[in-house]
Subunit: 339 residues, 4 copies
């Protein structure tokens, strides 16, 4: 069918290759039209067996390749700003993996470029908004029968951190998910952040401040606390409890199967975020493809990407200073009102 | 892309229309090429907005329509035999909703036709095999670390039964899912069945024997019990516990969110099988499309469809007689060895 | 205080010694006045350090010892009938461990003796009626908001069976707990029983039919199924789900602590019934002491003890015959009306 | 029996009357010898029907009454210091309800008096140490297989607060339980406290800062966070999750019965601490009676009572200042080494 959405995928690393596979074999209505990666062999490997997908080393060449009608950015964070601006300049709808732009100044330039354009083209890859649990929690909070949310208690645990993971990355890479999730669930901006550091776990690499306990205040008077523990050793656990005026709701404790053996009744804990959130990734990309084919943008905005970067930057400063740190946000352009 | 799998969908009722939507908007690699339904208006409504899909009132016309390379049968059960034989005669791969053929004699004719053909073309729509919980349970049993399965305890509850639901339909419509699931999980044939009838619930329509308690014996010495209760009033619950020599495993008790309010900590119970098994349906059809495009058949076979019909027939006789009833199966054709 | 209830404990084995400890150190308002056991050394060991407790080898001597105002029978089952009749003859209130009398003919003689006496003196040790979970389930069923109970699904698993445990003992020793619990929860008599035997677990001793699946019908049209598996290997699990017209309720799945470690979130499964039911035993004896001091009998009656024996006997016949077996009960004496 | 422990109960209010009942009818080995309350009618009502219990309006008269060998203090907090000093002066073992002494200066005077005495006589009523869940968590942490504890996440919710409950009382009355539990579970002292105040719930009385989020640091480098919410509206919930280097353990999420009805699978949430902790109270008093009869003191010490008061005072200052507040503790007397 001629109307499959031709997508240029930027970046053919772990995440990029996974998105190529998803567009080719999981998602309905799209096809991979081009892939760009400085490592051309990696790009070719990603598209092996996919008819009609051209391979490029340069971003611009991929965006200009025949059949490209939308862009999925899965390159490393530092390359995002240039890629986003190039996509916006061509009027191409874009799904950009998080972080949108690692530094808030660069993120703000993207916001401003899109605001100048006067219409939304960018969606940011905060895929938790597409997770079934988070969506149910969001729906419950919006419905209002539990009253106003007062606190969110969040847990974010990984089995172990990648090599070269820094103490700041617990905030700007890991907790950035909770930053977006909290803003979205509450519909409020985060205004201040405090980071507490218990004595590091013996299981953490030397010098890494792991775990950390991060506290956010919001402009609606709510409190968000996040335990982030990237070397917990036993599994990938993401939980969120919303405490409201008339009740609380918790997600992330379910299990697919309960096994009684050897003196215990046990539920498996996934070891990897791809296991936990595979459906969310699929739903996110399907939702983006569906909306894009209809000329709409429905997901997290560039403003959400900017706000996440600005809050994370304040969080890293709070980590370093040990003090409560205010978050400064630029004025929100009219384009993002209500989002 | 020219290589999207063109599918003829037979039947445009509730289930057929849902499959049309799934093929068009959810599943990757397929397109709706034709739809057939005696009610032409219904067929046209199902394909509204789908380019390239022809509409027919006759099965054969749909199978012969341009671009049709595979068939999805979602018409009423009594129409399945003819449709399956027509698809087999044309060498078309086919996904047939359950029951494959309601009566075992007819089901056996389909088995024999495919056996004569000498290659497998038909997959039967036992979608529980594609549910994440069932797949995990199957993987655990196959892995063997809990030892041999001794018993399966199953629960199958619906909020309320459709109008005109009969006592026999608790067996041949509802429990037929457990019949297939048990055969698949255990890798054993069911050899006898007993049906017990507690005094019917006040919530069941007059004259309907609801709930029922169904006991199956297997050729591997295992026992399968099923509570089927189609007017339980409160939700759609499907559970299965496998009791093995060294442990037990249970699926169907998980929840997406736990809400504490008004004196209780509660998980929502879905009201509908489409909510509970939507992912299983999507995965089933995606898996069928993927395999079909590669010229393979990987799902439940016509033999599975026949066996389910034969066991269900014995179950209905057991319901009527109140006695333990042996299941008689025809010899298994070579084509289905190991399946 | 002079008014502590002086109790003669018959039997100083595992269970008897535990009751001596309980009366002396856990329960309020009672004291051990006498202990009888054919093995005098065992009796003396049981009362070591307890002032005022005399030691005997003969039942009658213990019942007649100074200060004895009530009797707790914890001797082997075959000795119960004689002990009960002796206690009744003296007008002594008695708490008798289950089985009241192993054979229903003997049990009926006790019932008749008490009926002739014209007042209740005997309470039978069905301690599940004192377990918090069972009490909550009973209260819920009695309250009626779930409607009439239609089915009870029961599970009774032990880590391993004692030496010399026979296939019949799965019924008359293990399932006898479920027999009483079902009668009590439903307020109905059990009228027929069928026993199914899956191929025995490799973990069961040679020749033992373990697990078994036992089905009871009731005079109220309900169905009770019991999985009994006394060599399940992994823990002591007792569960009960009551399926009613407007909902279901399940006990026995709770846990004191959930531990996430090594890839699983696990709740400990107790290894022993004393761990699972310690509070029930304490509550049972406290309740008996309290009622006895007030001249009342409030717990399970001799009729309950007789009915349990009669149903278990039918169950053992059903196990041997493989057929559905009716339960025959003697007429219920007026003394037990409403109990 | 002459050797029942005669106890003087000080205070015949809600808690005192409950302890009188417990000593008389639940606990083994003790009897109520005297009750004192300024309201003599209330004291007389509490002991109605209890033989041998004298009634007093003055503490000293009760302590000196015939048969008194131990003291249980359940009077209002401000009366505790005088009562404790009087008991110590007489060499009487004492179980004192929390708070031991509301102000840390007074608490320190009790510590010093006992230290001068050179032997421990006082046990403080931190009954959570006797709750089954807390004991299992403590045992798990002490066992060490999860490694060093890094964080405790605590939740303490009440349906509604008593009249005249103040913002400070969320700390020094409610959170004081978590203060002791954290010290005991970790075996560490709390060194600093920060209190965060989300915008109060609409369900809280005007002017009450409810909920609050309290953060404690420990001398072992651990972090303890407590959500305290005394007008949560829906139930009494006490949870604690210990996050350790190699796993986490959570208590307080269990349930006695799961009821599926009306679209939800729900566990009841208790409405009252007496329901949740009734067994802990019974076990606490039984344990105190047992130890006292053997001339030993085994429970929380006067030092624990003092430390809880000192930490709570720092917490109230932190609540008022909004700043992180250090906890100052007096040197620990030799008598309490290792406790």
């Amino acid at each position: 069918m001629g109307d499959l959405l031709g997508v240029a995928v930027l970046g053919a690393g772990h995440m990029g290759a996974d998105h190529v596979r998803r567009l080719d074999r999981v998602v309905s209505g799209a096809r991979v039209a081009a892939v760009a990666d400085p490592d051309v062999a990696r790009a070719e490997e990603a598209v092996a067996g996919i008819a009609g997908a051209s391979v490029h080393t340069e971003t611009e060449a991929a965006l200009d390749a025949p059949g490209v009608r939308a862009v999925l950015i899965a390159s490393p964070g530092p390359a995002h700003e240039e890629a986003l601006l190039a996509a916006l300049a061509r009027g191409l709808p874009v799904l950009c993996e998080k972080p949108m732009v690692p530094d808030s100044a660069g993120a703000l330039r993207v916001v401003e470029a899109e605001a100048r354009l006067g219409r939304r083209l960018a969606q940011i890859g905060f895929m938790r908004r597409y997770d079934d649990g988070y969506r149910r929690l969001k729906a419950l909070l919006d419905e209002g029968r539990l009253g106003r949310p007062l606190m969110l208690h969040c847990v974010h645990r990984n089995v172990s951190s990648p090599k070269d993971f820094t103490s700041a990355m617990l905030i700007d890479s890991s907790v950035s998910h909770e930053i977006d999730a909290a803003r979205w669930l509450l519909g409020q901006e985060l205004t201040a952040v405090t980071v507490l550091r218990p004595r590091p776990s013996a299981g953490a690499p030397e010098g890494l401040s792991d775990p950390q306990f991060v506290l956010f205040e919001t402009d609606g008077g709510a409190l968000v606390d996040v335990e982030v523990f990237v070397n917990c050793g036993f599994g990938y656990q993401v939980r969120c409890e919303a405490v409201c005026e008339a009740g609380s709701a918790r997600i992330g404790d379910d299990h697919g199967m309960l096994v009684s053996a050897r003196g215990a009744a046990a539920a498996e804990v996934p070891q990897d975020y791809l296991v936990r959130f595979v459906d969310a990734y699929d739903r996110e990309v399907q939702s983006w493809v569906d909306a894009t084919r209809q000329g709409r943008v429905t997901g997290p905005t560039a403003w959400d990407g900017y706000a996440a970067s600005a809050v994370a930057e304040a969080g890293v400063r709070a980590l370093e200073s040990g003090a409560r740190t205010a978050v400064g946000l630029a004025p929100r352009p009219e384009l993002y009102a209500g989002n």
